[in-house]
Every structure is written in structure tokens, then in C-alpha cells.
Symmetry: D2
Subunit: 341 residues, 4 copies
């Protein structure tokens, strides 16, 4: 921690801060500057009281941490890329995965048909929402357990591993019976009990960034999962909320590049939610690949105009096939290869 004192702080004010620093078991080092005195506090910031509360002392101008707050997810702790095994697929190595499927599982026919279609086009995992976090209570809330059963059938018929969202600690066990990967959605990006319960399932977890999460907070959410003994985490950028509403969210490609630099975890991108409109999904997918993503989550629906949720952002099968064709040269330019199912 670096504590900067206000100009003109008298000796006894300096000493008071020094004493407080010692009391919290840091070792203070005094630097007297031109206008301001600085106290550098030596000690592990993760094991000690945060000194940030010393800002309440009238002579303190600022308190700034020096260490990064996350550890297990960082490359300082583990420098090589983590490669996860999901039902035999390698995620986070040189293979690029496209997870595809409808926003919501709506019916058996829609589910199975979509799964077959996306597999044919090259998707290696199937996604679909059974438990749906919707902004309005009047919107379709998902089929729940019935939806999970449809996902099970989709896997049975296509062999594609399943990613689906879990919204509540109580549902983790039920969802984990069907899902190969548990998704923690953007609205639950800092839902600590859910992070803990999902971690305890031992499943791979796809962790979406919250729509207002700092990159640091996103990594700390992943750290929660690791601290609970499960390091099988896929980070997923899905756009952040900004003043610009032409797209529903603003895809933050720098977050992808930074997450790859800072952590050893695989990083996926969900351009469908970032855009909120189908006509931006392909260019955002290309950009995500080029920024360094290890995979994509794409919403595909046989008839988006009639979809029960988020129809405006779902691709038709033909558009999805076009996406798969368009991203391939970008994946290869990144030195990766499209995964085979």
C-alpha cells in the first residue's frame, strides 16, 4: 500500500499514520517529497487488513494498493495456458470452439433441430437456456427442468456437450446432472453463493463478465471459483453497458486481450448478447477471434422472428453457417485451428 499524506502534514500527523500502519502489521517506509510525504507499507495485502480505510484520517490524501488482488487466476501464479478437458474436447489450447444453440430451449423440435444444424455447421458444443434470467416478469422464463431434459436429448442425438445457465445454488445439482459446462450469467457475475455452489459441483464453469464488471472484478469472480477448489473456469466477455445503445452492449475486445495477458484461463466471447442484434454478430465474432478469444458463444434459432426470447439477436442456420465460414481464416491467422466435434 502507498499512503500519500496531504501537504503540510505535521510530524505528529505523520507519526499517527505510521503507528496505524504498524498496528495492522505492515512495515512503513517514509519518503519525504517536495510537497507531500509518502508512506510505503510493506506487507502482503491479501493477508492483512486493507489500509484503504486509513483514508478517513484527515491527513491522508490517498491510499493505493500495490499488489494485484487476484492470485490463482493470474499468470504470475501459473504462467502457461490452462487447457480444460470438456467431454474430451480441449479448451484453451490451440483449438477454437464455437458453442451454438438457441437463447431459450422452447420445444423438443426446436432444440433437436437446432442442435443438429449447428453441429453440421461445425459447432462443437451446444448451448440453450432452460433457466432464464429475464428483465421482466412478464417475459418467457424458460422451461426449467423440462428444458434440461430437452438438452439431454440434444446431447444424446448429436454428441455435443451441453453448456447451460444455472441461476441459483439450489439448482446447481440438478443442472450439473445434465450440463457439461455450467454457465454463470452476467446478472450473476458477482453472486458469491452461486459461484461457490457452482465451484463445488466440480464442473467446468463458463463465467460471464457482468455488464458493469471491471476486468479486475471479473477475474476476482473467477478467483472465488478457484478459491473454492475448482480451477476449471472459462472466462466469457459479453459486452459491457455504456452510453452507446446502438448495440445493446459494447463488446470490449480489449478485455479479451487483457484477460489473455493477465490470466491462464481460456477466454470466450458471446457476441450475440454483446450486439443484441443479429446483423452485428458476424463482424463482432471476427473481431473477437482477432483479439485472442479461444471460443465463441453464438445464439442460433430456426426461426428467430418467432423466438420466445431475444429473437432479434439470434442467427438463422444459414447465417450461422456463414459465420463459421467467415471466422475460419481469422482463427488460422491467430495460429489456431477450428476444433472438430
Amino acid at each position: 500500500m502507498i499512503i500519500v499524506l496531504k501537504p503540510g502534514t505535521p510530524e505528529e500527523g505523520i507519526q499517527q499514520v505510521v503507528d496505524a500502519v504498524k498496528q495492522f502489521e505492515y512495515e512503513p517506509r517514509l519518503i519525504r517529497g517536495v510537497e507531500r510525504t509518502i508512506i510505503a507499507c510493506v506487507g502482503d495485502e491479501r493477508n492483512h487488513h486493507t489500509l484503504e480505510s486509513l483514508i478517513v484520517l484527515p491527513q491522508v490524501e490517498s491510499v493505493t494498493p500495490v499488489q494485484k488482488k487476484y492470485k490463482l487466476v493470474s499468470r504470475e501464479y501459473h504462467s502457461a495456458n490452462t487447457v480444460l478437458d470438456v467431454a474430451g474436447l480441449q479448451i484453451g489450447g490451440g483449438q477454437f470452439h464455437v458453442v451454438a444453440g438457441p437463447c431459450s430451449v422452447e420445444s423438443q423440435q426446436q432444440t433437436i433441430e437446432t442442435a443438429k444444424t449447428v453441429k453440421l455447421a461445425g459447432a462443437t458444443l451446444f448451448r440453450g437456456g432452460a433457466f432464464k434470467p429475464r428483465t421482466s416478469p412478464y417475459d418467457f422464463q424458460g422451461l426449467g427442468k423440462e428444458g434440461l431434459e430437452l438438452l439431454r436429448q440434444a446431447r444424446e442425438q448429436t454428441g455435443l456437450p451441453i453448456i447451460t445457465e444455472v441461476m441459483s445454488p439450489q439448482d446447481v445439482e440438478t443442472v450439473a446432472e445434465i450440463a457439461d459446462v455450467l454457465q454463470i450469467g452476467a446478472r450473476n457475475a458477482q453472486n458469491v453463493p452461486l459461484l461457490a455452489a457452482a465451484a463445488a459441483s466440480g464442473k467446468t464453469i463458463l463465467l460471464k463478465r457482468g455488464m458493469a464488471s471491471l476486468i479486475e472484478e471479473w477475474l476476482l469472480a473467477a478467483e472465488y471459483i478457484c478459491v473454492h477448489g475448482n480451477s476449471k473456469v472459462i472466462l466469457c466477455e459479453r459486452g459491457i453497458r455504456t452510453f452507446e445503445h446502438a448495440c445493446r452492449n459494447t463488446l470490449d475486445v480489449s478485455a479479451v486481450a487483457l484477460a489473455k495477458q493477465e490470466t491462464h484461463l481460456p477466454v470466450f466471447v458471446d457476441p450475440s448478447h454483446a450486439a443484441g442484434r443479429f446483423d452485428m454478430v458476424i463482424p463482432l465474432s471476427r473481431a473477437a477471434v482477432a483479439a485472442g478469444a479461444d471460443g465463441l458463444l453464438i445464439e442460433v434459432h430456426p426461426n428467430p422472428a418467432a423466438a420466445l426470447s431475444d429473437g432479434g439477436q439470434q442467427l438463422k442456420p444459414r447465417q450461422f453457417a456463414q459465420l463459421m465460414a467467415e471466422i475460419r481464416p481469422f482463427v488460422e491467422a491467430m495460429g489456431k485451428r477450428m476444433a472438430a466435434g
Copy 2:
């Protein structure tokens, strides 16, 4: 719904949209403009398929809802102010309430001492976190059930009703045994299973706005609670996340004024979390009162410099007494009066 078609859409393209609108059981009305044709779709948007998915049709330029998405919380549905009874206190009428207490319940002495202090200064409810949603897994996570017991003792000794946060559906029952008001925190502002479980408890719920929640989304979260049969909701603005980081969040006083105009629910403000720094709490409190708030949530700690969480934003007892004195004339200028415990 208003559907705007792209310039130059041929008749068959128009007819295709008209047919889709009819299929979803809206009644289409065509308006041919200078450049664009508009289809106004008559029908209750809350009971029907959202036509927003029609944006995927190539001839559609935009689809705009006409109705508001929330209903039970709106003044259109219930025009008079809702006045809630919490342990005999009237909330949302002409009385102004200050809820005060530490960020975290840390020990018996800290808890009881703070409760007595804030009561003496005029607080009418006591707040304190037992289950704490923290950004980092290395930060203090709260005392949990032990903390609830300390809150129970605080009520016993001071008579102040208790507001405390619940983070997980499983904990609702336990927390509801102690708490007079359940708090749903900003990180859980769109945690649908938690909203539903909290609603089912029958308790009054203080619902914080998410740090990236649109006002509409905040009201829809309250609508979730109402739809689950519980209309005892206090809305709480606590600052939103913006580009400005001089304060931790940006207190949105227009949200207070708008929520008062749009809904019949009481609206509180939490300036401590909005500011993230103690020296802004008093001016933000005054502004909140002036914008129309019905109450405040203030963090108070006997020794903020040693607090286990968010020390930098907690007031010392002396500062809290000053706050109570400073806001009184503003409360009165609003035609309200400070509640007596």
C-alpha cells in the same frame, strides 16, 4: 408496438410484416409516410409475444414498444403513495427515516455500541451486514449466522428494527427470522430466484438498484417481487457505475425523482455506497432528501479506520450526528418530518 419499415419496402414486404403481426395476435394499422411506412400494432404488449424479434426481417428498420413493461409498481396502477408498516414505523408517508449502522457486523461490542449510538442520534432502523457480498474472496466475508444473532441482540437492546442483506434463496428463511426488512443488494439486483424467495417470505424488502441497472430494470425487479405476491418493497438508489471514479459510484438523484414520479413505492437512498468516501456522505444525503427520498441508509462505525470492510465510507458517530442535524431542515423543506423511533 411501432414497426418502422425501411424506405422503399415493396408491397409484398409490407404485407409480410402485416401477416406476422396478425399471427402474433396484434392488430396492424398501416401509416404510409414520406420515406417510410409505419405499422402500429394494437394489442397488450405484456400478454403477447414481443414483436421486437421482427427486427430480423430484412425490411424492418426498428421495432419500438409503446407500453411500459411494469404495471403493479406504477402509479398508473396505484396512484397513491404506498405506506409500509415496519414494526410499527410508517415508511413512505410523510415521515423521513434514517437507517444506520456498520457496513459489517464485526463483534458484539461494535454492534451494540453502534446501535445505541445511532439510535441516540435519531436513526429509526438499524442496518448491519452479516452475509457480505465482497468483490474479492480474500476480503472479510461477514460473520454469517453469528452476525444475525448480534443483530437480534441489537434490536433487543435498542428496539430498532433490523435491515440486513440476504444473498441466497437458501438463507432467506434464516435471515427473515431476525430481520424486519430484507435487503437485496446491488449485485443481486436482477437475481430472479432471490427476488422470488425474498418475496415469498412476506417480509418488507429493500431493493437496491444494480450498479448498471436502468431505472426501468430496477422497477421491473420490484415488479418481480410484486408479481410473487409481495408489494412491500422499498426502492433504494445507491449510485451507478459511470466513467467518473472520484466517487466510487455516481449518485443518480434523477432516478430518485423519477422513481417517485413513476411508482407508488417508497424510495430510499444509500449515499455511503454511492460515494465510497465518508467526506461526500453528508452533501449527498442532503441532495437525496431534496430529490425526494423517503429515507437514507448510512454506514456508521465506531472506528472506521479499523473497520473490516469499507472503512473509507463509514461515518464516525460524531459525523453521523452532524448528518442528522444537517438534513433536518431539508426534510422539513420537503414538507416531511424526521421520524421518531
Copy 3:
């Protein structure tokens, strides 16, 4: 400056940074921490090369300034409130001023009528746009010099001093002939040549915060004016751009409180532009007063529905009179008094 080195930096890497620091004439002080080495660099950051560019060295993790970047506007430099004299009015002392008038000067009748109306209601300065920065080239661009002449007449007939916007260095002289206060608008908040030219006029300058300006950047814009020899600056908060679009901008009341704390300059608030809607202007005005503002800028139009610009946010004369009545007790609760014209 505080330079934090990456963990595991070898001695020669440390020495390289130390040498660079010395080369830029700072005095380096080494602190060896648990994981990281810190170099505190002693020297006046405003007179020396910014060391922030040292971040390009591979062993450097972060470079953080210690000093504040602004000086002349700060209370460290000048602790007492600056009180400005504008045509005999005292601004920034205990008197509270309301500047009122139409968004645009549209005609002689509209201008003179509005000036008389707002004077009658208690406004002490008159505002009106002659040069209008509009988002679209198809919107009304203002009457230009003809508008200035109407403003001159308004002053002649009412005695109210005039605030009006200047958009270009070439126009400063012309506008300064008529205006008592030059307004720099939000779109020009960092227009350095305009800040310099306006400063050179010797007039009082009302400096709006840019819609994406950090508080620090707003104060640095004021610092530009002071550095050019003119310290007659009124800061004006007018809302910032955030994800929330229910109001056009988000009024940042914490910026008002912080600007009052950090600087000695008067701080005004423009709730009309912050809200972008007339029905929020009164509550935002009350909140602005309570946050510590020294004055308000309010848009008033005899017939807002027919206004040539921003009709939706302009008050009718009757609403303006109500505003004046409503804010008075809040002004007095702040220990100030409504200025008399």
C-alpha cells in the same frame, strides 16, 4: 510519482529504472516489498517530464502520479472562496443566483418577454443562446450576431446581466462586447484555443463540464483559463453521459460537492441540460442547491412546445416561478440567501 516494478525484477532491471528516473531529474527512493519493489520519485511533477511513459519498460508494472495536476484552481493554492463581481452582483459568496432564459434567442418578442418574466420571478442574470452548437446540421443553429443584439436589448430593458455561449475563438471579441459572462459549452469543455481566447477577453467565464469530463479534467480546463491570466471562472455541472437514458444526462451532484471542496471557484448547476426534460428540472434544482451549488442555470420559454430548440426541457414562466419558490427554503437551509437583482 510511484513506480511499481513487476515481481522478480532483477537488480539490473531495477537499476535501469532508477537511472531513467534520475535522467528526468527526479530523486528515486527504493522500497523493497514482499513481492514488488517500489521506486518513489521525488520531484515536482508539474515541472518535470511525466514518468508515466516509463510504463513501456518491460519491468514496470505501474506508474502513479502523487501530486494533483491542477494548482491555481485548488484550495491548496487559495483556500478562501472566490467571490466574483459580475456587473455588481456577488457570485460565489453567500448569495444564490438563478440565471434564466430561453435555450435559443428566437425573436425580439420572445427574448424581451422572457427576460422580463424571469426577472419578475427573481432571476438575477439572463441567459439565451445566439451561437448554438447543435448535434445535427439540420437543427436551428441560432441567430448569431442578430441574437446578440436581442440580448443587448434584453439587458437594456431589464438590467439583467447577460450570459451567452461563445463557440469559436474568432467570435470571442464580438460576444464579449455584449455578454457579461462568456459561456463555454459542454461540447467545448476541452477546446483549448477557445479557453485561451475566452480567458484573454478578461470576462468572467462560465465553464461547463464536458459530458464525458472527469472532475479532474473539468478543473484542468479551468486551470487553463487561470494560467492564461484570468481567474474569473464559474464552474458549471450539467450532467454527464452514462448508460441511463431516462434523463438525457445524469446530474452528478457529487461533482458539485467535490468541486466545492477541491476548488475556491463558484459552482453552478444546469439542471435543464442534465435532465433534458422539464418535469425533472425542479427536483434536480433542489438537489443541486442541497449539494452546495452557488447558482442555477434554468431554461425558460414562453411557449416550450413551439421552441426552436430543446423545447422539451424548457420551463413555462409559471413553472419557473414555482421553481423559484421551491428552492428558497433549501437555499436558506444551506445558510445562503437568494440574491436580489
Copy 4:
């Protein structure tokens, strides 16, 4: 315009709005819905009074424009890509251009050396700031006219056309004597007099998006230039200001894709300012190419650690050469080719 009336508006209230609409020479069409009555107003929204001011009528709930506000820049007006000729280079066609050079022109040696270096690596235009808009008055403000002379020498010695910023209408003529392309910076993105003066020069204009400009506002700024008779505009995305500060700004790749879809103008990207840190420039460059950009602006300095401005975001010559090598396959995957100087 679509006007939505509040539920329960009586006939006379409806008639009042209808009359107002007619008075402003629109043709009103009434649609009576389930809860709300809608008035669709037929007429060219760019030639008529904006009806948005009718929101001040108490019975009006919302007023929504139907037309786009920009025209000349849109593909509706001109569907094919505009290809600009800058000193013989084709911009906006199938060739991809990289503009490179230092943030600031600092000295003859630094300027000439950098120009030669970036030309060797494949840049086809040279950039360098002579007039610098800096946040702080204590920062280096650029060499001004002397800097322009150095840019002239750089062109003479390398043949690279010059892009440099102009900050004030008065300087347009001087800068236009040297520059092949005039840059309007992000801080001047809505500086209307500057847009007009730059347009009048007849030069090609590179128009940066403001850090808080909506895409629509950015296009309207370009429309200003076109309306002033100059359609030689290159749009340039350079990151927007959001809550995330890990990079200085958030590069908005969806804005690139949307601008390409909505307009016929070339779109460039400036990843150096978006990132504010050198280590993100290459991944952001790749993403920009993949999103559809027609060119890049890259800051390069022979010794970034000693740069007089923005050293932290400037690439060393070696890093720039790596960037040129890395982006090539992405440019080709987009079906474009790297331009030859």
C-alpha cells in the same frame, strides 16, 4: 414522428395534440390502441419543426423520431463505398492503409527518423501532432507552426502524405498548407465552427469520434462537413469513455461495423488512443481490421520512454514492424490488401 399519449387522455386532449401537429405542418394519423392512443405524424422530419418539444404537453407520454437524422453520409443516399484520393492513394476501397508516426512532433531528428522507419515498415501515411490538445496546461502543448515545418520536411524526405490535427478555425489555412489530411480530434468532435472551417478548406478530413459521442452524433458531425460542401471524410473510431479504466478508453468495434453498414465513408481506427497502453495496440489493431476498418492510425516513437506526450501508448519501431506483420493475414482474410506507399 410517433407521439404516444398517456392512458385515459380525453378526446379534447387528443385533439389538442392533433392540432399542434397540423400547425407544424405534419399530417397526423390517429391509432387508438388498447391503453394508449398513438398519433403518427407524416412529414419530413429534417425540414420541419421537431415535434419532440410536444413532450411538454401533459397528455403526451413520448415523442419518437422515425427518420434518421443524417442523410448525405448514409448508404440510403449513396450506397457504394466512397473511395477517396489522398495524394494518389486510394482510401476506402480494397486497400488497407496504416498511418503511423509520433504522438507529437518533438524535433527534426525524431520526426524524420520516425517517418523513414514507418515508411520502411509499410506505413502509407505519416501522422504527427504539431498542435496538441492536452488535458493539462502544464503538459507539452506541441511545437505549433514549427512542427508543421518538420512535417513538411518528413513528407519531402519520404513522400508520405501527412495527417495532422487542427484545433482552431484560425489555424485551418496554415495547417492545410502542409497537411494532406486534416484531423479533427476527439475533443473537437462536436466543434461546429471547426467542422465548418475544415470543410471549407477542401481537404480530406479525418474525423475522430468523440469520447462520449453516440455513433449517431459522430455521423451527424460528418454530415456537418458534407453539408458544408466537402464529402471527403474519413471516420475514425478511437475508443469511448466507459467505466472500465484498465485501458484508457474502450475500443468500440461494433461502431466500426455499424459505421461501415450505415455510411459509405471510409472508417479508420486509432487503437493507440483507445488503449492508452502500448501492449494492447497490436491485439486491438487485429480486432479493428476484423471488424471492417479501412485503415489504422498508430503512434510510433523512436524512444517512447522519453516521449514528450503519451509515451505509454507509443510503439517502438520494432513493435510497429511486428504490428504490420501481424495484421497482414487479417487484412487479407477481409478480402483487402495492404496498400503500397
